[in-house]
Symmetry: C2
DNA sequence: ATTTTTTACGAAAAGCGTAACAATA
DNA sequence: TATTGTTACGCTTTTCGTAAAAAAT
């Protein structure tokens, strides 16, 4: 039988027109390529070239052979790429979340539980998350509600609550609590990549314009700004509380979020234990 | 890059389940196959097997690789078969005829004109002939009428006329000429593979039952039979006239056949000369 | 005990490069 | 004369088979 090697060489010849040119691009001596093509003719038991003394060209068979070779070589490359991708996927847990907070606990726990796996995560919209869990892009997603798909498990992994952080001089800074609507219309600062939190507050404060600032410069900006911004209880545990700001709870029921971790029941067997542990430790 | 060789070996392993069994069917030592599969894993930079001490089995990647390998190997075989077929076709003139007589002149002339080509011929129905000329199965066909397809040439190559051969004792044996209908209802003997002649006489003599006899035993049978049979002027030139038989011309216009040779104008360049020569020599 | 896979080692085969040759433009 | 393809020859690399070892049924 002939070999893929020879088909690639045939394609190189078809592309470059002469054995010398093709051999150079193949990093091969020209006599070697000449012999290899003769072998291909033998292996196929069909002449592929018109061999003149000083010129060689594809004949009718050769042209046909090139067509086949293109297809076969393409599929061979596809095979390798696909296998490499598949192998990578076998060693990767791809985690989607609706918000940053679930990742703070899930990522380190997953790393500890599956030390050989690469953990990749991203924050996406609720529809995207569910869709890509079903099509197996994600092995695991964090949602603000449980899903009911058969064959999937949903387990609560914690809750998060939203607060305003107001400058001390703000007119409402002394209130014990507020509604989102109370600040509707005021310009506010937002961290980027807050996931579905952004949707919630934009919906409840349609007249507010939100300024989004780079994550790294955000704290700096807040310190020297008089604009109100948000915080959550989980974020306040994780990061330093903003200086010179008053934290005011928000009473809207929509900002009391319970997170659920959703995944296929027959995958990630160690995950069940992780999630049961999750119910207790919320740091 | 990996090689087709290795893919075939992978398929053999997938089929036979163990390296030993696969190696035997591949006419290869088992250690060689073991190493070859390890090389395949290296070449693909992906593990394909679960290597246990004493057992080796395809893993998830391997199963996927087998699927790809099946396709690629199938196409590789297809490539070879297709090329061999194409090569054969390049050296073959496939000739279809509606009757035996045109072949008697066309075959030797084609052989002389194209000494490097294999000449293959068969007798088929008129519709089949035209259809397979158009789809390039035939390079050349002989029909009892010219065709009008654009791009095709039709040239008359001779004529043939049908006769009855009657036993001397036959009631009609002394007639100077007859019509087909005159013997309608009588049982007759027929050579096999007469092409469209069979259709002509069956149509004009619907009440006659025709007995077809093997070509080699036919002359023998005729000699000892009192059944009428047919001959043509061309057949009488070619073969010995039947003993003890009277040759009676048939007057039906339908049995005076002019043969036409039909072929693509841009192929068989030498053929034009042949056909012009054909008009003169009719042996 | 037999079967199966892997490792080790020497031999066979295949493939490559350099050089030389032939032919062409 | 420079370029192209084929042939010849020696060398390297690859691949193979046998033998031996390790492990499992």
């Amino acid at each position: 039988m002939f070999e893929l090697n020879q088909l690639e060489q045939l394609l190189a010849f078809a592309e470059y027109g002469t054995l010398s040119a093709a051999a150079e691009h193949l990093h091969l001596s020209q006599p070697a390529l000449s012999r290899s093509m003769r072998r291909l003719e033998m292996d196929l038991s069909v002449p592929l070239f018109d061999h003149a003394k000083n010129k060689i060209a594809l004949n009718e068979n050769g042209e046909l052979a090139v067509k086949y070779a293109e297809q076969i070589v393409r599929e061979a490359k596809e095979m390798k790429e696909s296998l490499v991708a598949h192998e990578r996927a076998r060693h990767t847990i791809f985690l989607g979340s609706c918000a940053p907070a679930p990742l703070w606990t899930l990522l380190p726990n997953l790393s500890a539980l599956y030390p050989d796996m690469t953990i990749t995560s991203e924050i996406r919209g609720l529809d995207t998350l569910q869709e890509k869990l079903l099509d197996k892009t994600y092995q695991l997603i964090a949602l603000p509600y449980p899903i009911e798909e058969p064959g999937f498990a949903s387990q609560e992994i914690g809750e998060e609550h939203l607060y305003f952080t107001l400058p001390s001089a703000h007119p409402l800074a002394e209130k014990k609590s507020l509604h989102l609507a109370d600040l509707n219309g005021e310009t506010m600062l937002l961290r980027p990549n807050l996931g579905f939190w952004t949707d919630i507050v934009k919906k409840a404060m349609p007249d507010t314009s939100f300024l989004t600032q780079d994550e790294n410069a955000f704290d700096e900006l807040v310190r020297f700004s008089v604009l109100p911004t948000f915080a959550t209880d989980l974020a306040l545990q994780r990061y330093n509380p903003p200086e010179g700001r008053v934290i005011v709870p928000i009473e809207d029921e929509a900002v009391n979020i319970h997170y659920y971790c959703c995944y296929r029941k027959n995958t990630l067997s160690k995950l069940t234990k992780l999630l049961q542990a999750k119910g207790k430790s919320k740091n």
